[in-house]
């Protein structure tokens, strides 16, 4: 068995809009999701996340490239591997006039799962007692829970979740995060597509970031964020003089308009305090700022947007839009 649960190679999705526009939603994407743990799948709206997920699940056809799930080529061997895959793509989709239980029972029936599986899945997401209500009367949070319950009917080895905490209240978000974390720790591989970067950073072990259908970065969250890399925010009365002294001492200093200096390269804040005090400058704020996933994400997607804009201007190739790929 392959150590990678999801692999794509040169995956591409092109289509034409009704107005004849040529859209490239996914550009030769090479994705690798290792077995076990929670893998974040990040990207701005319209970056091709959902299209990629839909291709992996056989809901959309790839224009080019190869995909493998559990080492098996898909969509050719999809029927064999889909028994091991649970997924929620975009918002939950059930028959509105059926009860939550009825919706799950029909899905369970299609894979031959016993009714006790439905009970267990409902209990797992906290919908026991509300399962006999019609789906159309459910709150958004309940709908999300039901969708997650549906994924659990298969006892999956791979769980693909697209914005699973959308619409949940804070307690619900915490429960679902705990559940995802628990599933990851129990050996299930979870691919978590989310816009909530803090959520991904809290829950995920590894992450892939895509923009405009291209892979921008991939790896362990700690590696991407840069373990230990930090800046120090320094507030001082005479900023120009302080910046000059710090730069002379070898630090990188950025003033980004928030009334403070951001100093890179200091191994400890005490070095900055000492240096400035030696020159008669006394700090009013000295805060270590850790680099987070959000800053990495924003930097990567900003760079990609700039690159794509330049490419578009020269090649005239349209890239995916939010509505086009979602």
């Amino acid at each position: 068995m392959s150590a990678l649960v999801i692999e794509t190679s040169g995956l591409r999705k092109e289509f034409h809009t009704r107005r004849g526009r040529h859209i490239v939603a996914v550009h030769d994407l090479d994705l690798a999701v290792p077995a076990g743990g929670v893998h974040g799948f990040l990207g701005p709206n319209g970056s091709g996340k959902t299209t990629t997920i839909r291709m992996l699940l056989g809901l959309a056809r790839a224009s080019k490239g190869e995909m493998r799930l559990f080492g098996e080529p898909v969509p050719r061997h999809l029927p064999q591997v889909m028994r091991r895959v649970g997924a929620v793509v975009e918002q939950p989709k059930f028959v509105p006039t059926f009860t939550g239980r009825k919706n799950l029972s029909l899905l369970a029936g299609s894979i031959g799962a016993p009714s006790s599986t439905v009970d267990a899945a409902l209990a797992r997401v906290g919908l026991t007692g509300r399962d006999k209500e019609r789906y159309k009367g459910y709150s958004l949070g309940m709908k999300q829970r039901l969708a997650i319950a549906a994924t659990l009917l298969k006892s999956p080895d791979l769980l693909i979740l697209d914005e699973p905490t959308n619409g949940l209240d804070p307690a619900g978000i915490r429960d679902i995060r705990d559940m995802i974390r628990g599933l990851g720790e129990s050996g299930v591989t979870v691919l978590l597509s989310s816009h909530i970067l803090a959520e991904v950073q809290q829950v995920c072990h590894s992450v892939s970031i895509i923009g405009n259908g291209r892979l921008l970065a991939s790896g362990d969250v700690d590696d991407l964020v840069g373990a230990g890399a930090s800046t120090t925010r320094v507030r001082v009365a005479d900023q120009p003089t302080a910046a000059a002294h710090l730069e002379r001492a070898g630090y990188t200093v950025i003033s980004n308009g928030d009334g403070a200096l951001h100093v890179d390269g200091a191994t400890g804040p005490e070095q900055i305090t000492r240096l400035l005090a030696e020159h008669g400058l006394y700090v009013s704020e000295l805060t270590p700022v850790r680099r987070d996933l959000e800053s990495v994400f924003l930097q990567l997607t900003k760079d990609d947007t700039l690159a794509t804009t330049a490419t578009t201007a020269t090649a005239g190739t349209a890239t995916a839009t939010d509505g086009g790929t979602a």
Binding site: L59, R61, V89, K93, F94, V95, P96, N103, S105, S110
Partner: protein, 324 residues
């Protein structure tokens, strides 16, 4: 088989479908009740009421005036050869005039209320097949189902099987109940039905049940192709009505062969005779018979080809298309 059972369960559980099937049964019941009631035997009170009505009408001044005129000049009033004896029975209202009520005849009802109930049931089954598929697309639940069973042809076939079997059973129950009601009414009134008529009705019910199932299957297949209930119904309406108008209006020889209605009637009635204005005769205009007979086989071929095209296109596109 497992998928088929799941889809039958889905079919049975859809409230909109249950309501439509109930409506079909209700319409059939109303038609049967109306037919039986309007052909009920005359009672003594019916005769007494008719007699009273005839007597009251006979006292009207204009009746007496006409009677007097007729008796004075019977030939002028009634025409050549009329005598005085002809005046009263033709001018003074008779009790029979107010007692007209048809006798229940299963042979006549076959192509009257029998055909009506069959057409209504088939129309309802088309909507049932359409809404069964349309709901999956409208709710987006089809994508969820495909995550559980990615073999799309199996999913399509299971759903189609559920629609066909479900509508077949309900149509059979409704149509058989309709004819049993008429048969029981005729028997209770001592009206002979005849083995030949019974046999014709059995064949018609059989063909009707099959048509209802096939109509539902066609509605389902077209909706799986177009992915929209209302859009499908609009296309079907345009095909049925627009197609009829086109075959009637086009000055093309034999255009009636392609009329949906003619082919449906040929299927239901074991052949169908229709008028075709484009038929030319070598004899005189008065001797020219412009009727054309469309055989049962012709109707079956036409409807079969239409269904086959829709089913093949539906399966092909469902297998290949991207599901949102």
């Amino acid at each position: 088989m497992r998928l088929l059972l799941v889809e039958l369960n889905r079919f049975r559980s859809r409230r909109a479908i249950a309501l439509m099937l109930l409506a079909a049964a209700l319409v059939a019941a109303i038609l049967a009740t109306t037919t039986i009631y309007e052909s009920r035997p005359l009672t003594d009170s019916d005769i007494a009421a008719a007699q009273a009505q005839a007597d009251a009408e006979a006292q009207q001044p204009y009746v007496q005036r006409d009677l007097a005129r007729c008796e004075k000049h019977p030939r002028r009033f009634m025409g050549p050869g009329a005598t005085v004896e002809d005046c009263e029975p033709n001018i003074v209202p008779q009790v029979e005039w107010y007692l007209y009520r048809p006798t229940l005849s299963l042979a006549e009802e076959r192509m009257d209320s029998g055909l009506a109930v069959l057409m209504i049931v088939s129309a309802v089954m088309i909507i049932v097949g359409t809404t069964f598929a349309g709901a999956d697309w409208a709710s987006g639940s089809i994508s969820n189902q495909l995550i559980f069973e990615p073999r799309r042809l199996r999913v399509w076939l299971a759903k189609a099987g559920a629609v066909f079997l479900g509508t077949l059973v309900v149509s059979a129950v409704v149509l058989v109940a309709f004819w049993v009601a008429l048969y029981v009414a005729a028997e209770s009134r001592g009206i002979p039905t005849g083995a030949a008529v019974q046999s014709e009705i059995r064949w018609m019910v059989g063909r009707g049940v099959l048509m209802a199932g096939v109509a539902a299957l066609g509605g389902f297949a077209l909706t799986m192709l177009l992915r929209h209930t209302v859009g499908t119904l609009a296309v079907m309406f345009a095909y049925a009505v627009g197609g009829e108008a086109l075959t009637a209006a086009l000055p093309v020889a034999g255009a009636g062969r392609w009329s949906l209605a003619n082919n449906v009637f040929a299927w239901l009635g074991d052949g169908h005779e229709y008028w075709d204005g484009t038929v030319t005769c070598s004899g005189g205009a008065f001797d020219c018979d412009q009727s054309v007979v469309l055989s049962l086989a012709g109707g079956v071929t036409y409807l079969g080809v239409v269904l086959l095209v829709v089913v093949v296109l539906s399966m092909f596109f469902f297998r290949r298309r991207d599901i949102a």
